[in-house]
């Protein structure tokens, strides 16, 4: 109501009202501030006055308080009577008790103030109370308290209010008069403008203009109004003009639209065709992916959505709906064991951006897990961040199964290979055993045949013996060939490529082969070409074997004419080769036969085989050996005219830096060797480490005969001690010894810096033993039983040969060509000159043999007494070990007994002991027991004979005592 009333008022009234209202408010505020300020000021003044007053009173009552003089205090306090507004005054002592008080008589109020107020001053109940501390010399002695009724302030308020109201009324009256005059200044122009507007709207005459009076806001408003009228006038005329143009413009636009429509239709058709093509490709592509049998996936790393295509249902069995849930859903399907692998690999690849290739297991809808292969690539945005991964998942269950099968097969194959290997090892061991077992009797056969051949025999007997010897040699050769060949086959044949003298090689071959050729009235020569080097780098033992094979062959197949060994140098591909051509004038080989001449078990023909003998292994082995030496074996031949076999091997040394070959520088030495018919003489001190007493004596007597001084060590320990105490010129070291074996003793000596040559003695005639010996630090190696010639050879090699030589008593029938057969034992080769050759195996003592070796009766006596003691002991030990079934110990003692018996010519016991030893080695305890019983029986009998006082007489008489004879003898003694 009020609002509308105010709005409807005229501008004149409004202006007047505004001015009036503003004046009233301002004035009222001003007066109020004035009055309130006056009051506050008056109160401040009052407080200040009262405090001063209290101060004066306090000062004046100071002494009274100090000396508790109430009278004086009352007197001072009564001075407040002079001030009407103070209605109560009081002085408290320092304990806060009232000291003196004053109260105005005419006041109606009762003031009970036992304790002084806390505040310095306070307005309460229309009164002002003021307190003031009384201090004497800095010490509080009391408090003054005054109470004022504020009557002065109240009267001042009434006065001020009256003045304010009067002022207000008079000012308002003046303001009304002024405002009603001044409002015309503003309302005047507005009213006149309103008049003009009304005229324009009533008459529609836009040419009318308002007149401007002032330059204020209203003035510019009038200007704007006039301008508006101008524009309305102009717009009117423009409208008329525009109406005329409109029609033509509509027509133009319609035509444009029609054209645009046509273009649009064309575009739509084109787009539709494009879409169809895309759809077609899409179908084709989907079909292709489906047909590939892969799952196609597209993982968006920003939204973590995976889009699948391809044979999802076929591989995993899920529908697309079931695969909702992005990468998380995919991870769920991965085998729990593969999940971390998958996750880690993907996280790694996201960083490296390498193509992904993973294999893991996934759960199919039917719950089964299959192996899948995931090959994918990461797609990065322009910032290089990985945003997508795109790839294929392939079912590789089949491939995995195949891999498993393959792995399984491989394991089986490995197992079979291992089995085969162990079988092969067993075979090698078997062959090694065979070698030992066969060679020993063979050596006996050949050795004794040799001895027999040297006897004065009837022509017929001589022929028989020769046949036995030849057959034996032949058989041994065959066995050696077979062993060599099997070693080559097993890859066990090692070559030792060292620098060796060509002259020594050729000389030894010449001296070896010449007698053989001479026997057949063939001319044998070694023909060297110019400029041959003196040294070549090869395995001279193998090369020698090859050449001897070929020359033997040539001699065998040549009835008359010659056999030449031609040696020449050849250069192939800038490498120096040495060529050995073995040329004969024999039966020759046809071209067809040449092709298979190197095959196994092949001979030229059946006829030849019968006529010439042989296994057919010779050339095959030779070829293998030549190949081992990195060389080549070839043949040129013409049937009936002869053949030439050629070995071509690398020289291995720089030919230009070698002195030329001069065979005759060394030839003399070889000649003297070949003509050797006497015992060599040495000088020096030799240490023999040997535990078996008889062996000690044997070796000692042998060495004494050739002029050497001998010291005996009982075992490895003693050997070491003795060798450290004094210097020896040579040490013979038995390998199998108690306490410390030969290998170990040698090692210790070498560690201690002893450089004395050491020759190992071993009963195990196996290839590889020599290696063990040299590894341990031995300089050389001799197989047991000791071969006298070889023993002397070794001594000669390692000792300085004494100038003197002594007429030898070696068997002149021994041919130098028989070197291969010379591995017979001392025992057998030095066998009895007389004696009955019957029942050789039955021998249990051979007097002549003993004498031959030992040389003097006293020594024999001594040796035999040692033999008896030692073997008694051994037999006891062996009995114990048999009871304890310790095959290793059985082998050890059997070995010891075997060696001892061989030395006294107890061949029967030797054989039994040997069988027992091998039973022990193969841990065949079953076989050991009967052998042991037999051994015990025989050995006890021999020991019983040898312990009798007159055994020497009997032995001298009998020469060779057999088991049978011993039985008879023992029976007769009883």
């Amino acid at each position: 109501m009020n609002k509308t009333k105010l709005q409807n008022m005229s501008i004149k009234q409004k202006l007047t009202a505004i001015i009036m209202l503003a004046s009233t408010v301002m004035l009222f505020l001003g007066i109020t501030v004035f009055v309130v300020w006056g009051q506050i000021d008056a109160r401040k003044q009052l407080v200040s006055d009262l405090r001063n007053y209290a101060g004066v009173i306090g000062d004046n009552t100071k002494a009274a308080l100090a000396f508790s003089d109430k009278k004086d205090a009352v007197e001072t306090l009564s001075a407040v009577k002079a001030k009407d507004s103070i209605i109560f005054a009081c002085i408290y002592d320092k304990q806060g008790d009232i000291f003196v008080r004053y109260e105005r008589s005419n006041t109606s109020e009762k003031i009970q103030s036992l304790h002084p107020p806390k505040e310095d001053f306070s307005f309460e109940n229309g009164h002002l109370s003021v307190i003031r501390q009384i201090e004497l010399d800095g010490e509080r002695v009391g408090i003054v308290c005054l109470l004022d009724d504020m009557s002065e302030i109240h009267s001042r308020l009434v006065r001020d209010a009256t003045v304010a109201v009067g002022t207000l009324v008079s000012v308002l009256a003046i303001a009304y008069l002024v405002s009603s005059r001044l409002q015309k200044l503003i309302s005047g122009p507005i009213l006149s403008l309103a008049e003009v507007v009304r005229t324009v709207s009533e008459k529609k005459d836009y040419s009318t203009r308002a007149s401007k009076q002032n330059n204020d806001e209203i003035g510019s408003f009038i200007d704007a109004f006039n301008e508006m009228l101008d524009q309305i006038q102009k717009r009117d005329s423009a409208l008329v003009e525009a109406r005329d143009h409109l029609e033509t413009r509509v027509n133009e636009r319609t035509e444009e639209l029609t054209n645009a429509n046509k273009r649009l239709k064309l575009e739509v058709a084109e787009r539709k065709r494009a879409q169809e093509t895309i759809q077609e490709w899409k179908n084709r592509y989907e079909a292709a992916v489906l047909a590939s049998g892969n799952i196609l996936y597209d993982w968006d790393s920003r939204t973590n959505q995976v889009t699948y295509g391809g044979d999802l249902g076929g591989i995993l069995g899920y529908t697309l709906e079931e695969m909702q849930g992005g990468l998380k859903r995919w991870m769920e399907l991965i085998h729990p064991e593969d999940q971390s692998y998958f996750k880690n690999t993907i996280e790694h690849l996201i960083i490296t951006k390498e193509p992904a290739h993973l294999e893991f297991r996934m759960r199919k809808k039917n719950g089964e897990y299959i192996f899948v292969e995931d090959t994918g690539r990461f797609i990065t945005n322009y910032r290089g961040e990985t945003i997508r991964m795109l790839g294929f998942v392939k079912d590789i269950a089949e491939r995995k199964r195949a891999e498993d099968r393959l792995k399984h097969e491989k394991e089986r194959a490995d197992m079979m290979a291992r089995e085969a290997l162990s079988a092969s090892e067993a075979k090698s061991q078997f062959l090694a055993n065979m070698s030992h077992e066969i060679r020993t009797p063979m050596n006996a056969i050949i050795g004794f045949s040799d001895i027999l051949a040297g006897e004065n025999l009837a022509v017929e007997q001589k022929q028989y013996v020769d046949t036995i010897r030849d057959s034996g040699q032949h058989l041994l050769q065959i066995i050696n060939d077979i062993l060599d060949f099997s070693k080559i086959e097993a890859g066990k044949l090692d070559t030792e490529i060292v620098e060796c003298s060509l002259a020594v090689l050729l000389n030894s071959i010449e001296s070896l082969m010449r007698p053989t050729a001479r026997e057949k009235n063939l001319d044998f020569k070694v023909i060297e070409s110019e400029g041959l080097p003196s040294q070549i780098l090869t395995d001279h033992a193998r090369l020698r074997q090859c050449l001897i094979n070929l020359i033997n062959n040539a001699i065998k197949f040549t009835a008359n004419g010659h056999v030449y060994l031609r040696v020449s140098l050849k250069e192939i591909d800038k490498e120096a080769f040495i060529c050995f051509d073995v040329e004969d004038t024999g039966i020759g080989i046809s071209e067809m036969q040449q092709q298979c001449v190197f095959d196994l078990f092949t001979q030229i023909d059946g006829t030849a085989s019968r006529q010439y003998g042989g296994t057919g292994l010779g050339l095959a082995i030779t070829r293998k050996l030549v190949e081992l030496l990195n060389g080549k074996l070839s043949v040129r031949s013409e049937q009936g005219k002869g053949s030439t076999f050629s070995i071509t091997i690398p020289v291995g040394v720089d030919v230009t830096k070698q002195p030329f070959l001069d065979r005759y520088k060394v030839a003399e030495h070889i000649e003297s060797d070949t003509e050797k018919k006497e015992l060599p003489m040495f000088s020096g001190h030799v240490l023999i480490a040997e535990d078996v007493k008889t062996n000690q004596m044997l070796t000692k007597s042998l060495l004494n005969r050739v002029g050497l001084e001998v010291t005996i060590a009982e075992d490895g320990n003693q050997a070491v001690q003795k060798a450290l105490v004094r210097e020896y010129d040579l040490i013979f070291m038995d390998i199998q010894m108690p306490n410390m074996n030969g290998y170990e003793a040698t090692r210790v000596l070498r560690e201690r810096g002893i450089t004395t040559p050491i020759i190992a003695l071993t009963a195990n005639a196996m290839k590889g033993d020599d290696k063990k010996c040299t590894d341990a630090g031995c300089d050389d190696y001799l197989p047991k039983p000791l071969d006298r010639e070889r023993l002397f050879d070794k001594i000669k090699k390692h000792l300085v040969l004494n100038e003197k030589s002594m007429g030898g008593n070696t068997n002149p029938s021994e041919s130098q060509a028989d070197e291969l057969t010379k591995s017979c034992s001392i025992g057998t080769s030095e066998s009895s000159q007389s004696g009955e050759p019957t029942n050789m195996d039955e021998r249990i003592l051979d007097w002549d043999k003993l004498m031959n070796i030992v040389g003097d009766e006293d020594l024999v006596r001594e040796i035999v007494s040692v033999f008896v003691n030692e073997n008694r002991e051994r037999l006891d030990k062996l009995t114990t070990e048999i009871k304890a079934s310790d095959t290793e110990a059985i082998r050890f003692y059997a070995h010891a007994i075997k060696g001892a018996c061989r030395n006294i010519g107890a061949i029967r016991i030797f054989n039994i002991a040997q069988s027992l030893e091998s039973a022990g080695r193969t841990k065949d305890f079953e076989a050991a027991i009967p052998l042991f019983n037999e051994l015990k029986y025989e050995l006890e009998r021999v020991l019983s004979l040898l312990s009798s006082s007159n055994w020497i007489e009997i032995a001298k008489q009998e020469k060779v005592i057999t088991s049978e004879r011993l039985e008879a003898y023992l029976a007769c003694r009883e």
């Binding site: 100071k62 002494a63 000396f67 004086d72 010399d137 800095g138 010490e139």
Partner: protein, 198 residues
């Protein structure tokens, strides 16, 4: 119940303590306690001349003769007056022995000298000894003022009051403030003030 018991104990104990205190302190002791406090307060209303040879930091109250104060000074012992420490010095009775020069010097250095009853016969001698050394002499013996003493304690209506010989004080260049003079029962040499007062 417990609270009640507690209150009861307090109510019973308070009067007992009060009675004990009153009985424990004889009237004589009470009187000298007030006098001791007055001695301190006098110092506050008296100004010594600048020439008074004195230790800057202490004000000495001498007590000569048989000391009646006992432990009366205990309660005011550590108080400072005019920012100085107050020292109480006991002097032997003049009757018993002659004072040594050192002792005389010490007497003269006192700011206040309270003369005990035992020195009744020696008053003049004492006053003459400290003459010209601005010593405020006080005693509670009648005729002390007449003998040349400055302040005399007396008892009126069981209250301790005092009289002042301002003439003697002026002679010794001691300035006694009017506030103190006004409280005195009688002031010699200040007739007007005295008149107004009584």
């Amino acid at each position: 119940m417990r609270f009640g018991t507690y209150n009861l104990i307090v109510l019973v104990l308070i009067p007992v303590m009060f009675v004990n205190t009153v009985k424990a302190e004889p009237v004589q002791t009470q009187e000298y306690k007030i006098k001791a406090a007055f001695l301190y307060n006098f110092i506050k209303f008296v100004d010594w001349p600048d020439e008074k040879p004195t230790n800057e930091k202490t004000i000495t109250i001498g007590i000569i003769g048989k000391n009646p104060f006992g432990k009366a000074f205990e309660s005011v012992k550590d108080k400072q007056v005019k920012d100085k420490k107050v020292i109480i010095k006991q002097f032997q009775s003049l009757e018993e022995s002659k004072l040594s020069n050192n002792q005389i010097e010490a007497l003269r250095r006192c700011h206040v000298l309270f003369v005990c009853h035992s020195e009744k016969q020696q008053i003049r001698k004492i006053i003459s000894t400290v003459k010209d050394h601005s010593v405020l002499t006080i005693a509670d013996m009648p005729d002390f003022l007449e003998s040349g003493g400055m302040i005399y304690f007396l008892k009126e209506d069981e209250k301790i009051r005092f009289e002042i010989n301002n003439t003697a004080a002026k002679q010794e260049r001691l300035k006694i403030r009017s506030k103190l003079l006004r409280l005195a029962k009688r002031v010699i040499g200040e007739e007007i003030s005295n008149g107004v007062k009584k």
